[in-house]
Amino acid sequence: MNYMVRAIVPAYNESERITGVVRSLRGVVDEVVVIDDGSTDDTAIRARAAGAIVLVHSVNMGQGAALETGHEYVRRTGGGIVVHFDGDGQFQVEDITRALNVLGDSGSDIVLGSRFLGPSAHIPLIKRRVIHPLARWVNYIFTRVVLTDAHNGFRVLGPRALAEIRFTQNGMAHATEIIEHIREKGLRYVEIPVVVRYHEYGQKFRGGLTVIKDLIVGKFMK
């Protein structure tokens, strides 16, 4: 594979961690693209200083919107392979190389990270036992696709997936929307184990309800 590999990093008020995230990514991918999603701190300045291409949303639009801005930037500048990587440093750069190898070897269009396939899942108990099983169930209702991890933000999109997938969901519902795209466009996908280290609790139960509301409203927008 001779495609350019670019990491898309949505970031909102991540000035404390963004420098470390960008620096760690620069050794693994060809280009780091940070989408500063309306931060009120100096996330954009620090990301730029660390060597990232920075696109700035003038207002906070949500993670799905930030990722799609990154997709559009990559499409306009030659395409290639895209890695979704969170700006808070919860993912591990070591997983990227493995995911890229899987993408090339398996001939799939998209590689999805899963916290439940590996032995080292550092997930809070309530999330593991209540929120994630519920999320998997909701995901299945909307997408008819069974995944071990319904809402993992670590993904690697090959050129075909990048061309086919367009997020319309601005918020966290994009994580379900992407599975819908995979099914509708017949994209080949593989799940691989990834390690996630939580700095904060992440998405809460209320956030899950917002996702369901956004998905229902989204059904009437098409």
Binding site: I35, I53, V54, L55, V56, H57, S58, V59, M61, A65, E68, T69, E72, Y73, R76, T168, N170, D214, V217, G218, F220, M221
Partner: protein, 115 residues
């Protein structure tokens, strides 16, 4: 007392209908929306002027009292209006996203070409 209530509602409905007509003329309201609001206000005036209409409809569909029918219909209409508002807000949010995205991409491109 009842006549005062009926007059107040009739006046409100008349003002609302004038407002609907004005919005329709200014293209701020579509034909379906205008039709809905005209029917809504006329129905309200009819029921307030002659409450037996609500009772007649309630008897026809098996609901005990006319006032119950009015409550059920009101709740259903309110749910529908809230839902429509959600759809409208989502549409606006998507429009704003396109503007914000284009602005971000253009300013990055400008920075890239000028450097």
């Amino acid at each position: 007392m009842r006549i005062i209530f009926q007059l107040v509602i009739a006046f409100l409905a008349f003002s609302a209908l004038v407002s609907v007509a004005r919005k329709k003329r200014e293209n701020l309201l579509g034909p379906l929306g205008a039709f809905f609001w005209v029917v809504f206000w006329l129905a309200l005036v009819s029921i307030v002027s002659a409450p037996m209409i609500a009772q007649w409809f309630a008897d026809m569909i098996g609901i005990g009292r006319g006032v119950d029918l009015v409550m059920y219909v009101s709740i259903a209409v309110l749910f529908f209006v809230v839902f429509k508002l959600h759809i409208k807000i989502e549409g606006l949010k998507r429009d704003v996203t396109v503007v914000v995205r284009n602005q971000a991409l253009q300013s990055e491109e400008k920075g890239r070409t000028s450097s």
